[in-house]
Amino acid sequence: MAAGPPGPFTIRVQLFARYAELLGADHLDVVAEGPLTVGEVLSRVRAFPGGRTIGVGTLVAVNLRQAPLSAAVTRGDEVAILPPLAGG
């Protein structure tokens, strides 16, 4: 990913299933003053009303792949917080 222009930017965080229900939205926008880690994005989301129900160890995907809490999130990345998977 290119770093993009400097200054604040918006990270669109997608929510699914139980998390979407608990936070009452299928996405949230997190305003970042600069690059954040996945863990920092998760903390911002947990500060929204209902956000405490999201576990600190929940799965997070960046650009369609699971990402560790230490991974960087930059301008234009697609972030998604994934409740426990139940496919199959």
Partner: protein
């Protein structure tokens, strides 16, 4: 892509999609919607997915299996509302030898359950609804085998 579908899944179509004269052993697996879960009677359920990621991970899993064994894999997961007995997931693996077909089929279903972002909302017989959480089920019902896995 097309690993996710809102149409019924037929095992015969999956088997036909991978069969070939040089791949004479075809192992397959279908998972059906069960009429109970964690000891509670289920009336209906609905699958949802983070669709672009689910498609991408399904493709990755199929690619891994086809790289590891000389097989061809077909995989479908249904989304939307399903009734009891409907096929929720179907996998077929065709190989020259049945060892490989079984191994690849098993790999695909295990990895799908572990990695593909799909969620299931169950409606119980009493009308209550709940998002299925396999991690919570395993902890809460560790003594009750029914609760540990959808099948």
């Amino acid at each position: 892509m097309g690993f996710l579908t809102r149409a019924p899944i037929g095992v015969a179509e999956l088997v036909a999609a991978v069969s070939a004269p040089e791949r004479g052993g075809v192992a397959s697996f279908v998972g059906l919607v069960r009429d109970h879960h964690g000891g509670r009677p289920v009336r209906a359920l609905e699958y949802t997915a983070y669709e672009p990621m689910a498609e991408s991970i399904c493709a990755e899993i199929v690619g891994e299996a086809e790289a590891r064994w000389p097989v061809r894999i077909a995989l479908r997961h249904r989304l939307g509302p399903l009734g009891i007995g409907d096929v929720a997931v179907g996998i077929a693996a065709a190989a020259g030898h049945r060892d490989e077909a079984f191994a690849a089929c098993r790999y695909a279903i295990e990895e799908l359950k572990r990695r593909v972002p799909i969620w299931k909302r169950e409606t119980f017989a009493d009308g209550t609804e709940e998002w299925v959480d396999p991690t919570r089920m395993a902890a809460a019902n560790s003594e009750e085998r029914e609760g540990m896995a959808p099948w």
